[in-house]
Amino acid sequence: MASQRKSKGRQKIEMAKMSKESNLLVTFSKRRSGLFKKASELSTLCGVEVAIIVFSPGKKVFSFGHPCVEMIIDRFFTRNPQMNSGIEHHFMEAHRNASVRDLNMQLTQVLNQLEAEKKRGELINQVKKASQTQCWWETPIEELGLQQLELLKAALKELKQNIAKQANKLMIEASNPAPFLGVNSNIGGVIGFENNGTGFNPNGQNFGYGHGFF
């Protein structure tokens, strides 16, 4: 199976109005988004005031402004470089900045989590690719022959039964712990209970009474 490239990757692009409208619209959407992102980063990192106004191909207007678009426009048109110095203004600014700081932290956190998950995904893909070469049953179903399908079907059916058995076993263990736990009827106080002591479930399945199975 040929590797699936989702796009051609970064290509050098000619600086002229794009000829294909569909491409133009997509480009506008992506680049406008990226532009605002850059403006946002600039104002965060350097603590500066920024305003960007962009008209779309469809004549709609998009704008980004920090602290806000209106204020920057006003400032631009005011000859007098007299800045707001009232206490109220400073208070609002401080409040706003704290809020922005907070949001930036939140965003960073989510982005980090996303990156971690992506890496995890790549790892899983690697493992998958490696084992696909070893085990024919890991090949996509569309590529299997009739005999292989039958074999796989049978194996899966058996697995299904085993899963049901195991699940049933777990459920029973969860609801009938008494003979294995000991004399006290205080099942609620399982905190500090060590599974190793029982010796009947060597894999240390925590029964977790705090959080039920269903």
Partner: protein
């Protein structure tokens, strides 16, 4: 270009901040310019810094005035519709990022359970799995059985109709292509719980043998030999 990850916070070091400002401001102006050229649209940028009383702007003082005038001419509602400030913009980004995260986690989970399924087929026991794993695994097994069934039906159809071979093939193609798309809802959190319980209750009711005999969960896919002789006692078919 340096590819160090930059922390999204005010740069406290004065010289570093000034250097960053210079670079990024230049980059920002370039990006506005490119956007305007590539898409043939009007745009402007205004940046106030502590280093200069006059703002840095694009395209030009006159150009900025023109765009601002154009902006002001629009009805108030249109102006505000797509207007964002730092707060609203960041909130939007957070929402989008969370969506991407959720999707990625879902995909990863699906791949993970698939791995578990294949491992279980080669003899890895099911003892290490908790109820959630078992449920997800059961669902996936069922899903795969359905796909196999569909595939087998499709192949049978193809074999049967010799006369309208071309027609059948085209039909098969579209059938086979449609099926996989049904997959996604499997691990959708909102429907998940309901489906889990449902699936499980169904399975409990339909199961013939429930002997809790051994812990031995050994399954027929004993060795990893891809084309090995499948003629062990489990399989009734002749090879």
């Amino acid at each position: 270009m340096t590819r160090k990850k930059v922390k999204l916070a005010f740069i406290t070091n004065d010289s570093a901040r000034k250097a960053t400002f210079k670079k990024r401001k230049k980059g920002l102006m370039k990006k506005v310019s490119e956007l305007s050229t590539l898409c043939g649209i009007d745009a402007c940028a205004i940046v106030y810094s502590p280093y200069d009383p006059q703002p840095e702007i694009w395209p030009s003082p006159l150009g900025v005035q023109r765009v601002l005038a154009q902006f002001k001419r629009m009805p108030e509602m249109e102006q505000c519709k797509k207007m964002v400030n730092q707060e609203s913009f960041l909130r939007q980004r957070i929402v989008k990022a969370k969506e991407q995260l959720k999707k990625q986690q879902k995909d990863n989970r699906e791949k993970e359970v698939t791995q578990i399924m294949f491992q279980s087929l080669t003899g890895h026991g099911l003892q290490n799995l908790n109820m959630i794993d078992l449920n997800d695994l059961g669902w996936l097994v069922d899903h795969n059985l359905k796909e196999i069934h569909n595939r087998q039906e499709a192949l049978k159809e193809r074999a049967v109709s010799q006369v309208a071979r071309a027609e059948a093939d085209r039909m098969v193609q579209s059938t086979v292509n449609v099926t996989p798309e049904k997959a996604p809802t499997a691990f959708d959190a909102t429907v998940e719980n309901m489906q889990r319980q449902q699936w499980f209750m169904e399975l409990m009711n339909s199961n013939e043998q429930m002997n809790f005999g051994g812990d031995d969960m050994m399954l027929p896919f004993g060795d990893n030999n891809p084309n090995s002789s499948w003629s062990n006692s489990f399989f009734p078919w002749d090879k």
